[in-house]
Amino acid sequence: MATVDYPLDRPPVKDTEFSFSQALYSWVATVDHKRLGLMYIVSALLFFVVAGIMAAVIRLQLMFPENDLVGPATYNRLFTMHGTTMVFLVGMPMVAGFSNYLVPLMIGARDMAFPRLNAFGFWIFLFGGLLLYYSYIGGGGLQGAGSAPDVGWFAYAPLSEGAFSRGSATDYWALGVMVAGIGSIASAINVIATALCMRCPGMSLSRMPVFVWVMLIDSWLIVVALPPLTAGQIMLMLDRHLHANFFDTQAGGSAVLWQHIFWIFGHPEVYILIFPAFAILSEVIPVFSRKPLFGRPAMVGAVVAIGFISLGVWAHHMFAVGMTSWSNSFFAASTMFVGIPTGIKIFNWTATMYGGKLRLDTPLLFCCGFLLQFLVAGLTGIMLGVAPFDWQLHDTYFVVAHFHFTLLLGLVFGLFAGIYYWYPKAFGRMYNEKLGKLHFWLFCIGANLTFIPLHFAGMLGMPRRIYTYPAGRGWEGWNMVSTVGVFFQAAGILFFLWTMVRSAFVGEPAGDDPWDGWTLEWATSSPPPEYNFEKLPVVRSSRPLWDLKHPHDPDWKFE
């Protein structure tokens, strides 16, 4: 029905002094999508620092051959927790955080479709994350073995079965991820309902900002791709506790089935993770180039295409399990087809910048970094998709390099672009541009220094997930350089955290619309009031603020 569920002229809430406990209560009990969005993003950043420090320990261990900074058991827990945290407790809440904060603002709505479900989603996600980390305390279980899970982030059976993973650590992995996943599904359904049912008058689907489109498709992908993981985890738990036989190879169960189930989830998952970056770039690049997004329908179509194709490529993670040559060829083909819509996106972003007036401030710098680095990541992905080449590259550091180029030099760069871009909206103050640029350059240099060399280590035969390696196999130099890069990254992150915290208090007041933006979130005050818009906007084109600012040359004449 109609969106106008709220009185149109609610008086602005007066900012009154709060005591600390009142403030705390107001955050804990909030159902405001902006607060929940910020809570998602802040907890994701905290988890990022935790998992990043784990990564630093991993790299220090691998700095020298035969290093014994940590032992094998500790190391295996480190990479399992690093990978699991980064994917489920950094990447996923970032999806929820950005879409929560921005989708209602961008479609001119006063809140999400289901505000309480929204709060539920956040708290259950946080609970899942804490449950996972509780394994460091409770993971030993009654058998007293292990602390955190050490089965790798994809927990291949039968290694994750009771016979080979004693103690409770793997149970915490399965439960923590499952619970956090329920939060993600809740939030995804909410985003879908919001984008479809809460748009302000005039905001037809064809005028909806590309950010909202991408988040809509991302949420759809979550809704269809996350349950397979839950199903697999239920089976794993039945195996571990009721001695069911799903993955028990002694009783005829199949070890390959777990891989199929996991990657039916796992492959779409990586696109679920990258879509927020796509969404952010599609907003930042146009505004910072002063041009509309080039080929808007194609950009949306490409995301839809990626979403669909990504459901049919999962077995490219399994080229080495001994599938038939037909299956191998099929999955090689479907994998490479993803490159086409992704290429369209890269080309259209570039075309958006082409002929513009690029404002090379921190947000756009991160976007440019994304474009170049994600190009590398995608092309190494194509190399992996060529199945015979993958027989060599699979489970080596080449794969590690590939996915850090997608996730760190891609996704995280995109997220930083978004964080800087909307920072003035969320806090009403400007971040420090100098520190932002410093962060960018340190992080860019550091990340490349860390992950470019690992491609070569992989091609020299270095397998992943090894806690140590002998000297004399040609891997030492690459690993040394890689570790040095982490120091640059860490320094960059420290500058980032510093400017984020500091500018929230002493940054220059930003005003409502510091970037001269075009989407509705810039039409309200910074930070936006609880009800977002005093009067619900009415929209006639995909750039409503452009229309307002250029009454003689509005977009709706062309659409």
Partner: protein
Amino acid sequence: MADALTMERDWQLPDRGTVGILFLIVTESALFAIFVATYLIYIGKSPVGPYPRDVLEIPVVSSICLLSSSLTVYFAEHALLHNKLARFRLWWSATILLGLEFLISTGMEWRKLIYEDHLTISTNLFGSTFYSLVGLHASHVIVGLVFLILVLTVTLMGFPIQTQFRRVKFLSWYWHFVDAIWVIVFTVVYVIGR
């Protein structure tokens, strides 16, 4: 170009509850799909018995009950739409009874399988896939029944349920979904799997 006021007045969007419940069903379907696929993959792979053809009996009566409960819930919804409260209660109770009958016969079936045929979830792959798939479905029946009973209780206590027609409608959709899943489970377990 229409002016702002008419645009605002003519602005129509889908109902958010409808969208929410539809995507809940989508996500549940994805969950079932994996269990169904696993069942299909493991048919005939059990190294030791008991095998489905030895122990499974086709649950004709309970399936008829569950499927007809889709009809009764539809009648109930229809009655509520036309404000026929007594009739609503009648059909609604019928739905609950039919659902309970289904649940009880599933329980009897499991009892027989466990105590007479010695088939448990850990016996073989058939046991693992059977109990997990049928159990997952049964747990959805239970959730549905809890909500159905809740609605009946508040109705009997005099709550004006007509005001909650949307929610009743969503509940009946969910119930249809549970029935539809049973058709698939039935085909896979009792037809193909035997």
